[in-house]
């Protein structure tokens, strides 16, 4: 346990000693802020419209602002993942520091978990920047905070499983860029899989859409905590980390 924390701390330090971390956070804050602005603007116009028509229907902030913003945030998150994971192992292999880690009295799985946790925390920090906007809603209105919490849990779980896949790809090469591009391709694919179900309703399309990480995020964004989605995410995380462990082992056999 303490070994995991040693590795995790070192990775976090290294994220925050490079400008990329701050760049990603700033970029994300900007984009999510833009989405937030758009969603609020729509919300306000709709609200005025319905008042003018005299219906005076009560509109839900959670439904109209928070949910669309978080859906978008989940998609932008996909594109941040490769930047976070690409260096994890590729850089250590290139510079030879992997020899230090592997010949120290730490288990492979501790190295992997430490690195993955650090990546997850980094991702969490990026997500935090989007919370600033939502904080504004609390200042001026009374949104329900429970579904928001569920949605952020969903974002973290979704991130965790893509980060695990990214971590795996980073062990397969010495080249960060290759690892990054590979991870990006997979993230994109997992996102696009969701579209298949929009055109078709056959059994295969259901299976394919089941594989999509975005499909499983929908319920979270509505504030619904469904065990089947949690199980999906957790098992993908396990699969990703398991593959990472196998890859680390086989790398040693080969090189």
């Amino acid at each position: 346990m303490s070994n995991i924390w040693i590795i995790c701390r070192k990775e976090l330090k290294s994220y925050f000693s490079s400008p990329i971390a701050y760049g990603l956070m700033a970029f994300f804050a900007l984009i999510s802020g833009y989405f937030f602005y758009m969603a609020t603007a729509i919300f306000v116009t709709r609200g005025l419209e319905s008042q003018m028509m005299g219906r005076g229907m009560p509109m839900d902030v959670n439904e109209w602002v928070i949910r669309p913003v978080l859906m978008n945030v989940s998609v932008i998150g996909l594109f941040m993942i490769p930047m976070i994971t690409m260096r994890l192992f590729a850089e250590e292999k290139r510079s030879g520091t992997i020899e230090l880690l592997v010949t120290s009295p730490v288990r492979d799985i501790e190295i992997i978990l430490g690195k993955w946790l650090a990546a997850l925390m980094m991702y969490g920090c990026i997500l935090l920047t989007s919370m600033v906007n939502l904080g504004l809603l609390f200042a001026y209105g009374k949104p329900d905070w429970k579904p928001m919490l569920v949605a952020y849990l969903g974002l973290l779980l979704q991130g965790g499983c893509l980060l695990a896949i990214g971590t795996f790809l980073s062990t397969t090469t010495k080249n960060q860029i290759v690892a990054g591009v590979g991870t990006f391709a997979i993230c994109l694919l997992l996102w696009v899989l969701d579209w298949v179900s929009a055109f078709e309703t056959s059994a295969t399309s259901k299976v394919i859409s089941y594989m999509s990480v975005v499909t499983h995020f929908e319920p979270f964004s509505k504030g619904v905590l469904d065990s089947k989605d949690v199980i999906f995410y957790v098992s993908v995380i396990f699969l990703g980390l398991f593959l990472t462990a196998r890859s680390m082992e086989s790398l040693r056999w080969r090189s």
Partner: protein, 325 residues
Amino acid sequence: MIKVEGLTKRYARTVAVDNVSFEVAKGQIVGFLGPNGAGKTTTMRVLTCFLPPSAGQAEVAGFNVTADPMEVKKRIGYLPEVPPLYPEMEVLEYLTFVGRLKGIPKADLPARVKSVSERCNIADVGAKLIAKLSKGYRQRVGLAQAIIHNPEVLILDEPTAGLDPKQIIETRELIKSLAGDHTIILSTHILPEVEQTCEKVIIINKGKVVAIDTVNNLTSRLRGSEAVAVEVSAKNGELGAAQVQQRLEQVPGVSRVVTRSGKEGHLRFEVESLQGHHIRPEIARGVVDSGWNLHELHAVAFSLEEVFLELTSTETVAQTKGAAQ
């Protein structure tokens, strides 16, 4: 302390280490000497559990590297060929990180970091970023990293590579001062380095062990001596190899005789001379006087000599380069 038996390591196409066996006793400093591509780094990687062997056994500090890697890792300090440094860390921060990784108790850590940075002469760059260090300083930080947890066994891959002459001397002194408590195996392709620091030398070439001996024995065996191949047979009746070997050993100037396999009832030997002796006429006389047939008598190259030539010539190049700077 270190025991290697029949170690073989194959890569996809090359056999990097081929059936290597040796032992290192506790407290000894052993030099691992060989030209480029000899398999030094590969052997060390197996000893440090970084690579698994393809065949054979390796034992470090009483534990097998394949069966008990965790126990081995607790007891070794390793300086890889390229020092494993994180450029974005400061020197003290890096040493603290390695100390934690090696399981040094929290209370002892600051003292260990301090003493090791003094020992390796890096105390003055403690707050510097590793990215900004010169090559020599990086090498020293690498060495500090290897000894920070006071390991029983030290495995150093070319510890003096990239240092200036003054630093080389300091590093050698440091390594020598570590012997006794630590068992050390260091690799190099510089002959004088072994002469100055090591008690024993293992010479390896193209993945095979060529010689294991003390440095003095090896040099005296080589400087100005020659190796001769002799083939004899009996004129009539049987002739024992032991008998011929005994006779050859009596020839003045002969240092050792090795039996080789001969063909068609011929007996074949390789005879090495002492320094400055020309033994071929004496051998011819000895064989003929004993009433045996002499089929062949010619000088051969030592397998060891070839390696030595290569090693000594690279050293001369290195020295001239050093002098030019």
